[in-house]
Structures are given as C-alpha cells and as structure tokens.
Symmetry: C2
Subunit: 289 residues, 2 copies
C-alpha cells in the first residue's frame, strides 16, 4: 500500500457533495420537534452501541403493551439477533430456551387501523407504487386507502415489527428491524409497533447471518446480542435522556416534503420527477439530557 | 443481565420466519448464472472485509475506463471513506492531498443511454414511481423511457457511482456506494458505473460520519479506509476468484420476478399489490475459486 499521511483533522474538505446532500430543505432551527412520551421510548443497548426506539400504541396497542411488559421483565436481555439478512431484516428476541415462553401470550393481528379523525395524516405521495396514498402519522411512515377506510404503517428501514408464522395472530416475542430497501410487500401483514429514532447506524452493525441459510446464525456466540432494554419511563427523571422527533404535522415539515419533492437546485441536470418515496425521507430524532 | 447459556449450535431453530423469507421463488439449482468478465470485476479490500464489484462499461464506458486506470495505479489504496451518511451514501476516493489529482482528467456525464437493441431489458415494473418502466439490463437495475428513447441505471442499494459538483461533467476520482433506501431522485444525474455483487454486509460496516456535519468525518484516522483495490484481470488466473451473477435475461429470473410480484403463500393474510420495486429484488452474486 502506498504510504499516506492521515489527516487528524479535515479543516478544509474538498468534496464533491453538493447535490448529494440529503437536502435539509428546512434549516435545522426551523424544525418543529415533538417530545417522545417516555412510556413509548425504549433504550436498546447492544454491544455495538445504543439505539432509541419509539413505540406506536396508536397502531399496535396490544403489541406495545406486551412489548413494554417483556422489556420491564428483562425478557430480552441477553437474547441474540439469530436471523439477520443484509438488506432485509435483523430478527431477534427468541426466548424459547428460557422456559418462560409458555407464559407469554400470543398477540392478535394489528396490521391496520380504521381511518378516523384521530389519525392526522400528512400526505407524502398519491399513487405510490404500493398504496393509494403514503404519508406520516405522528412521525411514522404510513399509508392509507380512503376507499377502504384503512390506514397502516409502512415497512421502511428502521421499522420495528413482530415476526410471526402463517397464523396472523401468532406474534409473541420475536421482533425484527428492517435494515434494507423497504420490503413494502409486507405492509398490512405484520404488527409494526415502533421505529428506530436514534442509532440506526448501530442497528446496521448487527452481525449478519449466511444468506444460504436464510440468515440464521447457527453459532449463537457469533451473533449480536442485546445487553439490556429499558423503558425511559422506568429511569429516574434526572437520569433519563429525552428524545425528540420531527413533528410531522407541522408546517415546516410540510415544507421539507415540498422541497424534497420539487428539487430546484442547479445540481439537478435532469430534474427528478416530482414524487417522493415515503421511506426515503430522513426521519431521525435527537436525544438530549 | 440475566444469565443465559449461549448455544454453540442451533440444530433446532424455532423461528417465526416463514413469510419473512426473501422468497427464493426459484430453487437455487435453477438459477442461471453469468460469469463476470474479469476486466469488469474489482476486488475492494477494506479493513472491514472484502467486497466484489462489477463494473458496467455499457452504461458508463468513460467512467469505467478511468476507474480501471486509477485502480491499476493504486490511486485508491489507503484512501478513506470521508463522507458517510447512514441510510444514504458512503463516499470515498478523494486524492486531492496526493498532489496527483491534476493529472486525473474530468469525466463527461454518462447519465443515460440511447435505447438500442443492444440493451436487453427484462422488465420489472411499468409505471414505477420514478420511471415509466424499471427492469434489469445484464444484472443491473435500470429504467427506461421508450418515448424518450433513453435507458439509465437506477440508484439502488449497492450501486457504485461517481460524485461530482454542480457541473455534470465534473466526476473525477471520488465515488460513493448507496447504503440505504434507494435515492432514486439522483437517477439520470450521476455516473453510475458499477454495483456490489458480494460483500454488501462489509460495505454496511463502513464507519458513519455525523449527520449534523453532512456525514463528513473530520478525523480521518476514525474513518474506514481502503486497503487495496485490484482488477480481477490483473490477478494470475490460477490465483483469481471467479464471480457469478444471476443472468437477468434468463427464463428462470423472469420466473423469480413473477413469483415476487404475485405472492401466493398462505402467509400473506393481506395479498400484497402485484408490483415490484426494482431495488428490492435481491441480486447478490457468488464467488468461487
């Protein structure tokens, strides 16, 4: 290898990045933030780092209730991500060897909601490939079908959902994170009950399994494991981090969407079609003490 | 943390995964493979692992020619990924401190091709959100507009493309991998000239930069670096790995697409719409000695 001097500091970065910026069309100061309810905030501690998750009791009340209970009991602590397919999902939470599973009830399907006024829907796209309309509901990527009067959460990267077998009502403890291109064909088929709001880079570090074995990691000692999961509301207030996510019902967020849909920068030699993929809108949150 | 016994071997895996399998609708034996031309095969050695890339001289002849030359000169060896945004791109290859850049010419825009019979297009989807038609051309995710008589490669995860500034003809050495949800708004705006065919899990291990600094990693010693890049054709035949990718013009691949588009498994409580996202078709290749 040719010898190079590594720079300790990049004070002057000459980079060809202008048009590649993920377009923070609204200045950071203009973002309207919503604080995440500590009862819906889960800190997932992996050996790879820390992840923050927001739960969604509006779309998946029963799943969230059971997940909270399992987190509080420490059910997931020490369990591994036993099935991890790069570009698809990282699945963990199998406690079948703990002898405790028989006490954990199955969860009914919570795949979609009846459309009501309770669901404040900020539209992203009409005639999306997979749904008549996509948008955001309280920070979560979603879709709706007004003719069917249904709304559901969409399988975007960072989504947290329950695994199941062929029976729609068979979710129990095993969950998965979406870690690749949105598998939208799973929409309306799974209990999506949360999303990563911080530390998606950590989730991406989870050890992958072999694709020729459906991602199953045979040797559990080679898998990524959960050190600890905790609900924010169980941490004393003065020790607890607060989480904030973009308020997707705010005017400034609508402006962000508009600017991403209609890209006018000089960079775009070919003007992109004025459409938006709901899963390609950066939606990370922030943590503060 | 609760004490658990880690299993050294998972002989009996009780997993809720059936419907979550990425549907290898065609048995592995039935896949028709195409061998990658060693002149288009690049081995990228990172400290995180090995990556194999297939170059695409059909869509980006000038870019591929210059990239091959730079690889052969060892230009990239030792350089870092200096701008890495989780869910977006991993960008590297800035050699501006090497004092060699002035000798590297700029590359003209190679954003799209005129549609000719040379371009064998296996259709995936009509009326995709971002293009009138998507499909595969010789293993690469692509799109076309018959009315405009143009075809182009699409920004799917794993794509390799050249960074540039506002000038469409300003690509030089800096490149990026797409590592998140397909930023399709960049289609027809960048010189896409290759794709990862093996080791995307390694690419996902590339160290991320801070989002509040546009992904720029100030301290270069904290960034992921390229150990070595090599063209397969420069390795003696008996020492070289061969790479194979799915032959996307084969009947068996058409069957794969059909089965992914029309999911009939019992698992699907709600039958997904009969559509396909061209970036959500698993397209990994395999390496053999």
């Amino acid at each position: 290898m040719r010898k190079r001097i590594l720079r300790k500091s990049r004070l002057c970065v000459l980079v060809l990045v202008l048009g590649l910026a993920p377009s923070p069309a609204v200045a950071a100061d203009d973002i309207i933030w919503r604080q995440v309810d500590p009862e819906n905030l889960v800190f997932l501690e992996l050996f790879e780092g820390e992840v923050a998750i927001e739960l969604n009791p509006l779309f998946a009340p029963e799943t969230v209730q059971q997940f909270r209970k399992l987190v509080r009991e420490g059910f997931y602590d020490g369990l591994s991500f036993y099935r991890v397919i790069d570009g698809f999902v990282a699945q963990g939470g199998d406690g079948s060897d703990l002898g405790e599973l028989s006490m954990v009830p199955l969860i009914d399907a919570e795949f979609e909601l009846d459309l009501t006024d309770e669901i404040e829907f900020t539209r992203v796209q009409k005639n999306d490939l997979f749904a008549p309309e996509t948008g955001f509901v309280n920070g979560f990527a979603a879709a709706r079908d007004v003719s069917e009067k249904k709304a559901w959460l969409t399988h975007c990267p960072g989504v947290l959902a329950m695994a199941r077998n062929d029976d729609p009502d068979s979710s129990r403890t095993d969950f998965y994170f979406v870690i690749g291109q949105a598998p939208r064909y799973l929409d309306r088929n799974m209990n999506i009950f949360g999303r990563v709001i911080h530390g998606m880079d950590v989730v991406q570090k989870i050890q992958r399994g072999p694709t020729d074995n459906n991602g199953i990691i045979q040797d559990e000692t080679a898998s990524s494991r959960i050190r600890h999961m905790k609900l924010a509301s169980d941490i004393p207030k003065n020790e607890r981090l607060s989480a904030f996510v973009v308020d997707t019902s705010s005017k400034s967020f609508e402006k962000t969407l508009k600017n991403r849909r209609n890209r006018k920068q000089k960079f775009f030699h070919h003007k992109p079609p004025e459409v938006l993929d709901v899963c390609q809108v950066p939606m990370a949150g922030r943590l503060t003490r």
